[in-house]
């Protein structure tokens, strides 16, 4: 790796116990340990994190926005997956 060519890492932070990790941004580092420490210094100066994940950006596979419609098409029209599709009489409680 050259001096100017450090790998890119994506940073995910769990801000509080009980929440999931959320993408916060990215940074360059020579290895995972440096990435973790840099992520702490860049993204959690005000105790915004209880846990950090750093992932090499190259390891992430993303869906292609250009294919978005086709890729998600099967998910759009199955309204019977939603509770509102079903009629429950008013007299029936707890459902």
């Amino acid at each position: 790796m050259s001096q100017t060519d450090w790998p890119l890492y994506e940073v995910f932070i769990r801000s509080r116990n009980g929440l999931s990790h959320k993408h916060a941004g990215s940074l360059h580092a020579t290895d995972a340990k440096m990435a973790l420490e840099n992520a702490r210094d860049v993204y959690t100066r005000r105790a915004e994190g209880t846990s950090i994940w750093v992932v090499p950006s190259a390891a992430i596979t993303a869906s292609d926005p250009a294919d978005k419609e086709a890729f998600f098409e099967p998910t759009a029209d199955k309204i019977y997956r939603h509770p509102t599709f079903y009629e429950v009489p008013d007299e029936v409680e707890n459902m």
Binding site: A24, V42, R45
Partner: protein
């Protein structure tokens, strides 16, 4: 703002040679207030103007560490030193958020650094002024960060997702920057007569440069059209400048300081402050490299880059060594 010289070229880079249907779809998304994300289709000019704007913003944050860095070791109390240190660290962090955002548009960070160090890229003109004494640290926080906040809040709603999200993060942190500056200069304004004079003098030197941060007058910035159409820019330069003046004059009144503008006057009919003519020659000079500190700012940045080379080399060598060891152990 930190992007004040950008719009000059945006119109020249207008859409051309691109599928008109794709351009229409893109504009429709913008008009619906949808966010554009890194791998979405976008006009080449949109990408180009954002790379320039975001990277210039990032450069400004990093160069902006210097005026206050100058006073870090001479802060009058431990509390003030810790506060200034925290602010400077924030500025570095803001630069890093913005470099990350710029990279999502397909430019390498090393290329952005090269553009700054070669003088090809600009940064906000405000940082080419010197911090002459401790009162300047207060004036910078109060006025420079105050002006930055005025610009950055609308940017939180800009159409490009990574830039908008970086701005949200930055705005949360920027607020303390302004407050610590105002508190600092209030303390001096309420001090003995020498301290009060220092505070007034700092205001006298920083007021007009802070107003110039908002960029040329609307009548002289014909090229903001595309930036506004693409919802990168949400308010005009004059609109933001007026907002800043209206907000800041009462803050000065409260601590008994006066803006160095004989034409500054509340206009009851308009509900705004009228203000004097800005010296646009000074603005152009400073922007084009002839301000008081342009040479020094670049020299310090270049030295930091050179002096840090051994750290970068060592880090890369160490990582490589560890990588080989792991591979060898696995065999």
């Amino acid at each position: 703002m930190y992007t004040q010289s950008l719009n000059e070229n945006a119109a020249g880079d207008g859409p051309s040679g691109e599928d008109p249907k794709a351009l229409e779809r893109f504009q429709a998304r913008i008009d619906r207030d949808e966010k554009i994300e890194p791998n979405d289709w976008m006009p080449a000019a949109y990408r180009k103007t954002l790379v320039r704007q975001i990277s210039q913003h990032a450069h400004s944050e990093v160069i902006g560490m210097q005026p206050e860095g100058n006073w870090l070791s001479r802060s009058p109390t431990l509390k003030r030193k810790a506060v200034v240190m925290a602010k400077i660290q924030d500025e570095a962090g803001h630069g890093l958020y913005l470099y990350s955002a710029a990279e999502t548009l397909g430019v390498a960070r090393s290329e952005l650094y090269d553009q700054l160090l070669s003088g090809q890229a600009k940064y906000s003109s405000i940082f080419n002024y010197p911090s002459l004494n401790w009162a300047d640290v207060g004036a910078i926080g109060w006025l420079v960060d105050g002006a930055a906040i005025m610009n950055q809040i609308p940017l939180c709603r800009c159409s490009y997702g990574p830039y908008a999200r970086a701005m949200i993060r930055i705005c949360k942190e920027e607020s303390f920057h302004q407050r610590q500056g105002y508190e600092l200069i209030s303390t001096m304004a309420n001090g003995n007569s020498a301290q009060k004079q220092m505070a007034q003098d700092a205001l006298n030197r920083w007021w007009w440069p802070a107003l110039m941060m908002f960029g040329p007058s609307d009548k002289d910035s014909a090229h903001s059209g595309l930036s506004m159409k693409w919802k990168i820019k949400r308010f005009t330069n004059d609109e933001l400048r007026q907002k800043f003046i209206d907000a800041t004059v009462p803050q000065a009144d409260y601590i008994g300081l006066k803006m160095p503008d004989v034409d500054l006057k509340w206009n009851e009919a308009e509900g705004h402050y009228d203000y004097g003519e800005i010296d646009w020659d000074e603005f152009k000079r400073v922007l084009n490299g002839n301000g008081p500190c342009n040479v020094q700012r670049m020299k310090v940045r270049t030295e930091a880059q050179e002096n840090g080379a051994w750290v970068r080399e060592a880090a890369a060598a160490h990582a490589e060594k560890q990588r080989r060891r792991t591979l060898a152990a696995a065999e």
